[in-house]
Symmetry: C2
Amino acid sequence: MTLGRLNHVGVATPSIEASVETYRNLLGATAIGEPFDLPDQGVRVCFVDAPNTQVELIQPLDEASPIAGFLKKSPAGGQHHLCFEVPDIHVAVADLVAKGARVLGAPRIGAHGTPIVFVHPRDFGGLLIELMETPRDGSH
Amino acid sequence: MTLGRLNHVGVATPSIEASVETYRNLLGATAIGEPFDLPDQGVRVCFVDAPNTQVELIQPLDEASPIAGFLKKSPAGGQHHLCFEVPDIHVAVADLVAKGARVLGAPRIGAHGTPIVFVHPRDFGGLLIELMETPRDGSH
């Protein structure tokens, strides 16, 4: 495995609408996607484009959402995860498991429509790392 | 101001050496800079290159370092800040101040040799945002 591009930084927020306004007003973000729900993951997400990567704003859909737990500790929101691209999710998972890292669950389809997995923060210096298979159409 | 490229993600760590090994071993990072001290900011830093951006590993130089405080709350380390590039730091600061955002101190020279400032997390959804003037030689 070779370190791939940072597809996005995941940012937890109690309000996508308020966060979008902050990125627009304070930093001049203009390329902002439509928010959409990922019910399987209990979240609503919205991508804000920087020229070289994206910020994924993540709002809990309900109290059972892992993001709801995050916001209990940090009510204003904050950085939640880093997502790096990999060419093949199954190769990446096998590699990580062989090295003793804890991969959280089986690959599932993520916000960009390609398979993703998360690596346990205890195996990555306190950071929650998402690995995402690069979309074949080159979009991100 | 228009949202600029994400120059780097700042990551606090109790040990740059251990973090570098994690990025190398688990994610296959190969482009890893030499660690260096920023004594004015009380930190030692090391940049790990992804194809489109960088991870800035930040280790406290002493107990007075703001990163030491961060690690008291999150001993394993974690995401610390997001750094976006701006063409002119003074224009960016004037714009933010005019919009009522709290800019932390005057611009100072950052890890890439160009002026930086930080924006208060309370004005940015719990995220610590660094703004950094784009290096004129195009390096990053």
